[in-house]
Symmetry: C2
Subunit: 332 residues, 2 copies
């Protein structure tokens, strides 16, 4: 029976049930991207859906930001594979009001007679902006009437040396790009009825997939990599299961967004930073080279060890892991 | 300014507005598939969304049929390009009830504790069945909580000699595979509260994308091809615009599903047959070879000519074209 190397949760139970039922019809799953040989290259592909009311709200984000964020989330999967983006395909669901005058949204909508500034056009402009910034084209799409907005993005790239979730070894260092916790802080602010301050709102609305960073890390021998979309603790669990190692994470080392406590940073989903296992020889000198090149910290937060599971500690004291981000779990 | 070669309609106006806004960020659009060079091969890719309440109803189809039909619709785009399927990626939207006991659907649902027979698993089993039948793997996916079911399928294939919508020339014959009109008849039956008879229900619920037929036609010099998803008349208009030709179609030659009048057959959407322009030398002998090989008629229904637009006639008398299928138009 095939085994899908994922952590715990209702979503993952269902994914395992699907994978079991598919049997030989399924390619090996359980990575950020599917990998398939095309011509003489390795194609990396991933699909990522963003839904109004689940992943975004039109009173929090402009339509352009909605498109940007949806595409960035999918492109982050290419980043985590160390892949070079080629293009995106987008399925767009648009309510009747999305054609012109209609419901809310920070972007004012054009009259129904003029589709040039319709929300669907704004969404695709956001998709195109982030795609262009990482060298990808908008290859195609589908446009459908829907009750609520949705943006489903399939990304395609090529990977000369794909980095999987499996491959981490005991003794490897565990590193993370950027700072974590901004996603959760931004959500908390909006949920309390306050617009987050600009840097925080931008962090949430226009995340930057770590595509160049992912390729750099792949070229420097990254052994295993995953993007932080379910939250650091949950994604570390996926990486630990896939690699068959334990991960020791020191919370006091986790780089936090200003104002975010380490445990909040470790639970915050949709961060789109990279969690990466690097060989023991990778050290502070290389991390400084990374920081200079990308204007972004690369921080060692722990170690891969023999064993299983994720072990969090705070200054040497064990800490229970936070719940991961699960779209199927009741929202707080 | 880029020009998107599509016919008329509200959906196509919005697509043109999007394409104009994307500018150089967009690859050439307006074909059944995007084509991109990867590793010395030509990759063909397309994405196609199916939504509950727009494309399917859970009281008409089983969940397995919903998955089959959604994937078949996307695979039909590969067929129209003459491409060889490689794999599919699927975004699945599942309401809370889709995890176990819940709303309707012909498939009985397992208790919430056992996801093995959950609707999401049935949907993916349908996707896998049609994918396997054309040599494609399920490469990956995304699973999301949603208010209503949706199945968004991205298909990937390779095309040694892709057939575009452009390329038809004056003097080419215009041919269609299979018989048209079954889709509309099935819908009418369900909308009247009657389950269609078995062959008709199967035609609607388990369409067979003409993948092998499309590759056969490509190898025999097909000049332009499109799948009949918007309806024969509307898709002929797309092909005419893309190729810069007029299409003369004789309705009395259109192969009809038993009980479907030719004008109904010409308007019926989501048929997933192929409309193809073949050089003048392609004749009845080759069509008989096609029929023997695929157990499916290949019928000459008209001619490509200099000019523009689609000209329908019935035994020599001009007939006004039916409205195409447009998801954004009010439903009858």
């Amino acid at each position: 029976m095939p085994h899908l190397p994922l952590g715990h949760g209702r979503e993952f139970d269902l994914l395992r049930a699907i994978y079991t039922r598919l049997g030989s019809a399924a390619a090996p799953l359980g990575d950020d991207c599917a990998l398939v040989r095309v011509g003489g290259a390795t194609l990396a592909a991933s699909i990522d859906a963003s839904l109004e009311g689940v992943h975004f709200r039109t009173d929090w984000l402009s339509f352009e930001e909605i498109g940007w964020r949806a595409a960035a989330a999918a492109l982050s999967d290419l980043a985590a594979e160390g892949a070079k983006p080629v293009g995106v395909l987008v399925s767009l669901g648009v309510p009747d009001g999305g054609w012109g005058k209609g419901e809310g949204g920070r972007v004012r909508q054009a009259p129904a007679q003029n589709p040039a500034q319709a929300p669907a056009v704004e969404i695709m402009a956001g998709v195109a902006a982030i795609a262009r910034s990482v060298g990808a084209k908008v290859l195609g799409g589908d446009l459908t009437r829907a009750e609520r907005y949705f943006v489903d993005v399939c990304v395609l790239g090529t990977a000369a040396r794909p980095v999987r979730r499996r491959g981490a070894q005991g003794g490897d260092g565990l590193w993370v790009t950027g700072r974590l916790g901004g996603g959760r802080l931004a959500l908390e602010s909006w949920e309390a009825g306050r617009r987050p301050e600009d840097a925080l709102a931008r962090r949430f609305a226009r995340p930057e997939p770590r595509v160049a960073a992912g390729r750099w890390l792949a070229a420097r021998g990254a052994r295993a990599m995953i993007d932080v979309s379910d939250g650091l603790a949950a994604d570390a669990a996926h990486l630990a299961v896939a690699s068959g190692v334990a991960l020791d994470i020191a919370l006091e080392l986790v780089p936090c967004w200003p104002g975010a406590a380490p445990l909040v940073a470790a639970a915050s989903g949709e961060e789109y930073e990279l969690l990466v296992a690097l060989p023991p020889a990778f050290g502070d000198r290389q991390a400084r080279a990374f920081a200079r090149r990308f204007g972004l910290p690369l921080t060692r937060i722990g170690t891969c060890a023999r064993g299983a599971g994720v072990r969090l500690s705070d200054r040497g004291v064990a800490v229970a892991p936070p719940a991961g981000y699960d779209h199927f779990a009741p929202r707080p």
